[in-house]
């Protein structure tokens, strides 16, 4: 063990015991390795001494995946470089370290200002081509929290508003480098290791053959970030994406860049009646193929925003929403040229009018400044809710926000939406609903006023997980299971399949030391 890398836990590192889920864990030590070699040294030592390990990025996750359960924390935030670029068949690929912050990646790629200090000759050649290329490029996954790390995004298969068109992080990862708990390594390129049915075998860097018997469950056909990705004839790389840090430590990620559409416009549509929103979304999905994001905000979310706008200077620049508006849908148009974007605007306006709603009730963002206002609006909703809950926690520290992350099939969306609303009204709970309605994936946020609300909310949350599982949906569609949704994963797949997942983990982590408590509960390991 390189002791100089290991820091004993003290008050200076207190923040590393929690993440955005606001769950607080415990640990004995923490390290901030800067390269793969250091990681290997740390894990080998931990492996020999049976020390539990928790892997962290920027701790922006909402499911406590980065919250330690004792032992040692490996924080990857210092491994934050773009290390190479390649150009194959007119496509650009970047290899990045797991601690790279998403907003930095976005800035460097979209402005074509990538730091090439450590690039090889080949990478520099690809970069020269990239600079000369008339097209603009981007990395499509866009979780709301842009300070997330790429490693964290891969670990929970993050998605965001634009995943409606471009899919989740999984769809944009083409290679991974992984260090296993015993110090062995694996380098995977998409397409190289494929399963035969549910059998998958591959060789590690030390030429060790690993033969996996994959679990038998069928994943939901909805947007999904619950449990291991398992399907017939699957690619090995997909097993690691969304594995919540339970199988190995990701040390390098190869991502594929996409051509950026020439025109990106945003439109906020406001509705006086919430019940026509579902129909509006269905029509948009049916009629239009240039929409990248379809996001929903309910009446309560708009009301919270109104209050926040009056009380907080940070949100005072938000345009005001008229009181009679009951819901809002944000649409993002991605088009090759302005003519097509105008056509899309017309189409949106026509759908609104056909449903008896005026197309005057819209905000169109075409310039950067206007688009930023729309973005501020979308971000202000969850921010406002968090502020509200934080102020309530001052009176009662036991309550937290209860936010769901479930997705269902299109045909079931109206049913589940009505169920949410019926239950929330029945128990007179305070709530706000928003999220990715295009993917039939909403975040129902229960805002407990007291411990009684909190307890009722937890029961409702579990009931909804039951219902969603029953109709073939996913209990987590984008945040991952982490430590706070393990019970829901059990509901979704059942005990037998959870046991299959535990068995699968043991192929890679026989001593059960890595990210313990993520996805399923295992109580093992010893202190450092």
């Amino acid at each position: 063990m390189q002791n100089r890398l290991i820091n004993k836990m003290n008050e200076n590192f207190a923040e590393y015991l929690r993440d955005e889920s606001r769950v607080c864990g415990n640990a004995d030590s923490i390290s901030f390795p800067k390269d793969e070699e250091s990681i290997i040294n740390i894990v080998k030592d931990a492996y020999n001494k049976n020390i539990l390990l928790t892997i962290q990025g920027a701790r922006t996750g909402l499911a406590a995946g980065a919250v330690p359960n004792g032992g040692h924390i490996i924080n990857l935030s210092k491994m934050d470089k773009i290390i190479s670029m390649k150009n194959v068949d007119e496509e650009y690929y970047l290899t990045v370290q797991p601690g790279l912050i998403l907003s930095n990646l976005i800035e460097e790629v979209e402005n074509k200002k990538i730091c090439i200090e450590n690039f090889s000759k080949e990478s520099k050649k690809a970069y020269v081509k990239f600079l000369a290329d008339k097209n603009k490029y981007f990395f499509a996954p866009d979780p709301t929290e842009k300070t997330a790390t790429l490693g964290g995004m891969v670990a929970c298969n993050a998605s965001g508003a634009k995943s409606y068109l471009y899919g989740s992080t999984r769809n944009h990862v083409t290679g991974l480098k992984i260090v296993f708990i015993d110090g062995d390594k694996l380098s995977i390129q998409r397409g190289v290791y494929k399963a035969r049915g549910r059998r998958l075998s591959f060789f590690t860097s030390e030429n060790k053959k690993i033969e996996l018997k994959l679990p038998k469950y069928e994943m939901p056909t909805t947007k999904n970030a619950s449990g291991y990705f398992i399907e017939d004839n699957m690619d090995l790389i997909d097993l690691f994406i969304g594995s919540d840090g339970t199988l190995g430590i990701i040390t390098e990620i190869e991502i594929k860049l996409k051509k950026r559409p020439n025109i990106i416009w945003g439109v906020n549509c406001f509705f006086e009646k919430e019940d026509i929103v579902i129909e509006f979304v269905q029509e948009v999905k049916k009629q239009m193929n240039c929409i990248a994001a379809i996001e929903f905000f309910d009446k309560n979310a708009l009301e919270i925003l109104r209050k926040q706008r009056e009380n907080s200077s940070g949100f005072s620049k938000l345009p005001s929403v008229r009181k009679e508006m009951e819901a809002s849908i944000y649409l993002e148009i991605h088009a090759d040229d302005e003519e097509k974007a105008i056509e899309a605007l017309k189409n949106i306006g026509e759908i609104m009018k056909e449903l008896g709603n005026s197309d005057e009730n819209t905000w169109v963002g075409r310039t950067d400044e206007d688009k930023n206002k729309l973005l501020l609006f979308r971000h202000a909703v969850p921010e406002s809710v968090n502020m509200l809950i934080d102020s309530r926690r001052k009176d009662n520290s036991k309550i937290t926000k209860l936010g769901t992350d479930m997705a269902v099939k299109s045909k079931d969306f109206r049913y589940i939406f009505n169920l949410y609303k019926k239950d929330l009204m029945k128990y007179n709970l305070e709530y706000a609903i928003w999220g990715h309605i295009g993917d039939n994936h909403l975040h129902v946020n229960i805002l407990p006023r007291d411990i009684n609300d909190f307890e009722i909310g937890k029961i409702l949350y579990k009931n909804w997980a039951d219902k969603v599982s029953e109709i073939g949906g996913a209990v987590s569609a984008e945040h991952g299971i982490g430590k706070i949704k393990t019970e829901f994963l059990k509901i979704m797949y059942g005990e037998e399949h959870i046991n299959e997942m535990v068995k699968l983990k043991k192929y890679f982590d026989s001593k059960e030391l890595l990210s313990i408590g993520n996805m399923f509960k295992i109580e093992k390991g010893s202190k450092y």
Binding site: N12, V267, K317, P319, S320, I342, L345, K346, I348, G349, M352, D359, E360, N361, T362, W363, V364, G365, R366, T367, D368, E369, D370, K373, L374
Partner: protein, 266 residues
């Protein structure tokens, strides 16, 4: 009431390109936006129109590609726009620009109120509003933070001063320049954007504006730009290594250095 809003095309980022010969900004249409202060001017005009009815006309002087920002102004609610565009207008300083804009206003006729943004973010002169009023020989109020009252014949404004504010009443027609806190500009709507694509758009050249050739473009500009440059950024961020005590000492040293010796480079 007929209201004219003067809008200017400015670069959308700080990374402007300068013409090495003329030392003036090279204006690229696809990287240009409405001067941010002018958006507040547009919104104020639209608010007056909401109450008093009438017409809001966006007016600009610039290259033909300025059409893009004028159509943007129309998507936000302006009824029509007028562009003064001619090679003879090129190289104008604020005096020649104000004169040229005054010709546009005369062509529009019967204008009751002219609203300008406080200043443009590229030139930062804040001269156009007052110069335009002087050229048209009408009164003006700069740095308006609120229109308290307006009728067909007069306007009462709150004007921001260095030491507070003044409330000033003046007769119309007149010019006001507005500060950024005066309102919250509305966003375009779908019908607004669609209407702006085909909205009436008039281009006036020097001849049609009956311009005095000695008062326009570089000929009519007493200001001569000798040199224009982007200031070199000297400050750099530094990362302080070491444990918390070392970091505190390091920051303490920086503070002492500033206290005793004034500003330091890093």
């Amino acid at each position: 009431m007929k209201i004219v809003v003067c809008v200017k095309q400015v670069p959308s980022s700080n990374e402007v390109k300068l013409d090495p010969k003329t030392n003036t900004i090279i204006r690229e249409a696809d990287k240009s936006v409405i001067n941010p202060y002018d958006k507040f001017a547009i919104e104020e005009a639209l608010k007056i129109k909401d109450n008093l009815k009438g017409e809001v006309i966006a007016l600009s002087m610039g290259i033909p590609a300025t059409e893009k920002i004028l159509r943007d102004a129309m998507s936000r609610g302006c009824d029509r726009s007028v562009l003064l565009s001619d090679k003879k207008f090129a190289g104008a300083d604020t005096l020649a620009t104000a004169y040229t804009l005054s010709l546009g206003i005369k062509k529009i006729k019967n204008v009751s109120l002219i609203i300008c943004g406080k200043m443009a973010i590229d030139g930062d002169t804040a001269q156009i509003g007052p110069e335009l009023a002087e050229t048209l020989k009408i009164p003006h109020i700069t740095d308006v933070s609120e229109i308290i009252k307006i009728s067909e014949n007069e306007i009462t404004c709150r004007k921001i001063n260095d030491n507070g504010y003044s409330i000033i009443k003046m007769v119309l027609p007149a010019v006001i320049t507005v500060v950024k806190d005066i309102n919250l500009p509305r966003l375009p709507t779908i019908p607004g954007v669609l209407k702006s694509i085909h909205a009436s758009f008039e281009i006036i050249n020097a001849h049609n504006a009956t311009a005095n050739i000695n008062r326009i473009g570089s000929t009519g500009s007493p200001t001569q730009v000798i040199d224009t440059f982007i200031p070199e950024r000297k400050n750099v961020a530094i990362e302080i290594e070491g444990d918390i005590d070392k970091k505190i000492d390091f920051i303490g040293d920086i503070i002492k250095e500033i206290m005793y010796n004034g500003r330091i480079d890093n």
